[in-house]
């Protein structure tokens, strides 16, 4: 087995194992930490795919910002000896989770055939994964997508401010 393959299998296995632990952990904070393991293994896999930019973004945005916020909320709203038992044994949560899982697995199965087509046919550009080519593609070919995403984020921001303001007024009254 080539060293690259070994690298892939180690981190793919770690990501899968950690992914299973995310949904089987008894405490929310452990789930969050296993999710951190998933993110870091994924970023290692991105490095294997010669996309260091994406790997770093994976760590910065998912592990460094989103998951930190999740842990922040967990530490703010729960206690260290709290268990998630009542949530985990809730039938409607479980049913919803199972439904989402089956649907997303189905979606992935549908997409796998498409992805293999793309991977086989498209030639690999010489400057794949470099910062310059990334920026060039983002700001030339995909500018509209980029702008739409930023407008979406702005809308979310305005909504958040609106909700926060409304709560404040309710408290003062």
């Amino acid at each position: 087995m080539a060293i690259g393959d070994l690298y892939f299998w180690i981190f793919a296995g770690l990501a899968l194992l950690a992914g299973i632990r995310v949904i089987t952990s008894k405490e929310a904070i452990y789930s969050a930490l296993w999710l951190l393991t998933v993110f870091i293994s994924l970023s290692a896999l991105y490095i294997h795919l010669r996309a260091p930019m994406i790997a770093i973004f994976q760590v910065t945005i998912y592990a460094g910002a989103i998951l930190v916020l999740i842990i922040f909320v967990l530490t703010l709203l729960t206690r260290p000896d709290d268990k998630m038992g009542e949530f985990q044994h809730n039938v409607s949560f479980r049913g919803f989770g199972a439904l989402t899982g089956i649907l997303s697995t189905g979606l992935m199965l549908v997409m796998i055939t498409g992805i293999t087509e793309i991977v086989k046919k498209a030639p690999v550009p010489a400057d794949l994964g470099s910062t310059g080519s990334f920026a060039k593609y983002l700001l030339n070919n995909y500018l509209i997508h980029f702008e739409i995403a930023s407008v979406l984020l702005l809308a979310a921001l305005i909504c958040a401010i609106y909700i926060a303001k409304k709560d404040k007024k309710a408290v003062t009254q």
Binding site: I56, V68, I71
Partner: protein
């Protein structure tokens, strides 16, 4: 094979260098405090108390390792480790000197010369918060949890202006590569000033310094461990070497931040107005050592600045910290970014 050995030497060298600097810093901190407060400070162990870090180390290693009964054992032990890993890894992309050429083989005085060095630094900076919050949570103590919460909020808030300020420098030099940024600071700017980042980005430098003090949890932003309010914050329950790792990690963080300040804003290994490479010969061993020493000299000034500020400025209140971060630093950082891009565009159109 020879590349591997060179890389190993560099890794071990920088590892022991940061550890050594951190150890000396614990002594500098206490002597500096004493100097500012007009008292002798630790002066018994060795000359001027220079052996004090060794004594502290022996003390911390031989103390009893206490784990609180109600603590979450796994998280409690994981906390210091997750604090130490990002702190020690960040130095990997910082150039600590120019280069040495031995027998036609170029050895960069930098562990890893990667193209996304800047993004690597930002990513590791954002991971630093885990050690603090997990340690605080795992201790199962209200002061620890409060310290962890404060630290998370503070680090998230100051990560933004910190990154935005550095982005200004990246725009000026047009690269994410830290070695290229360092190389670009040779020569003069506007004819009279050294071509350093601080003269290109004066506002960005101030924003970066303020945010860096907050990132390192140093006074005036040491709210996560404010001893007059929440005992000792996230490391209240820690003792022996686990506490040592936290305290040591803080000094390693300070060293890294000082090195970053020098790399981004103070010309890394360059002396103002003197082109060392032509003076001593590019690639010679003496030039490599000289560039490393100049880098160390600049870093030591910023290390001293950390101590100086700590014993000069009182601590902020929590809401003041949040207000400063979100209402002053972030708008100013965005303004700085806007002005920088504007100048770059104007220069582009004039210069063609």
């Amino acid at each position: 094979m020879i590349d591997l050995i060179i890389a190993l030497i560099k890794v071990v060298g920088i590892w022991s260098f940061t550890l050594g600097v951190a150890a000396v810093m614990t002594w500098v901190e206490r002597r500096g405090a004493a100097l500012i407060q007009d008292r002798p400070g630790p002066n018994r162990a060795g000359l001027f108390g220079i052996l004090q870090p060794v004594c502290d180390g022996i003390k911390l290693f031989t103390k009893e390792n206490i784990v609180p009964e109600k603590a979450d054992k796994v998280l409690f032990n994981l906390g210091p480790i997750m604090f130490a890993i990002p702190a020690f890894s960040a130095f990997a992309v910082i150039p600590f000197g120019d280069r040495i050429i031995i027998g036609g083989k170029e050895i960069l005085l930098q562990i890893s010369n990667i193209d996304i060095g800047f993004l690597y630094i930002v990513a590791l900076g954002s991971l630093a918060v885990y050690g603090v919050i997990i340690g605080g949570w795992g201790s199962n103590n209200k002061y620890s949890i409060l310290g962890g919460l404060r630290s998370t909020a503070q680090l998230i808030s100051y990560e933004v202006p910190w990154g935005l300020a550095l982005l200004g420098v990246v725009l000026v030099y047009g690269t994410f590569n830290l070695r290229e940024i360092a190389l670009a600071q040779q020569g003069t700017f506007l004819g009279i000033l050294p071509n350093w980042g601080v003269f290109h980005q004066p506002l960005g430098f101030i924003l970066f310094m303020v945010a860096a003090y907050a990132e390192a949890n140093r006074v005036p932003f040491d709210l996560p461990e404010a001893e007059s309010e929440i005992v000792s914050g996230y490391h209240t329950e820690y003792g022996s070497m686990k506490l040592g790792v936290y305290l040591f990690g803080e000094y390693v963080n300070i060293t890294t931040l000082s090195a970053l300040t020098v790399t981004f804003y103070f010309g890394s290994w360059h002396l103002p107005y003197i082109n060392m490479a032509s003076f001593l010969g590019d690639g010679t061993i003496i030039y490599g050592i000289a560039s490393f020493l100049i880098f160390c000299l600049k870093v030591s000034f910023f290390l001293w600045l950390f101590v100086w500020v700590r014993w000069t400025v009182p601590r902020f209140r929590y809401d003041q910290v949040m207000k400063l971060g979100w209402k002053s630093l972030i708008p100013l950082a965005l303004f700085n970014l806007f002005i920088t891009t504007l100048f770059i565009q104007i220069k582009y159109y004039i210069g063609g």
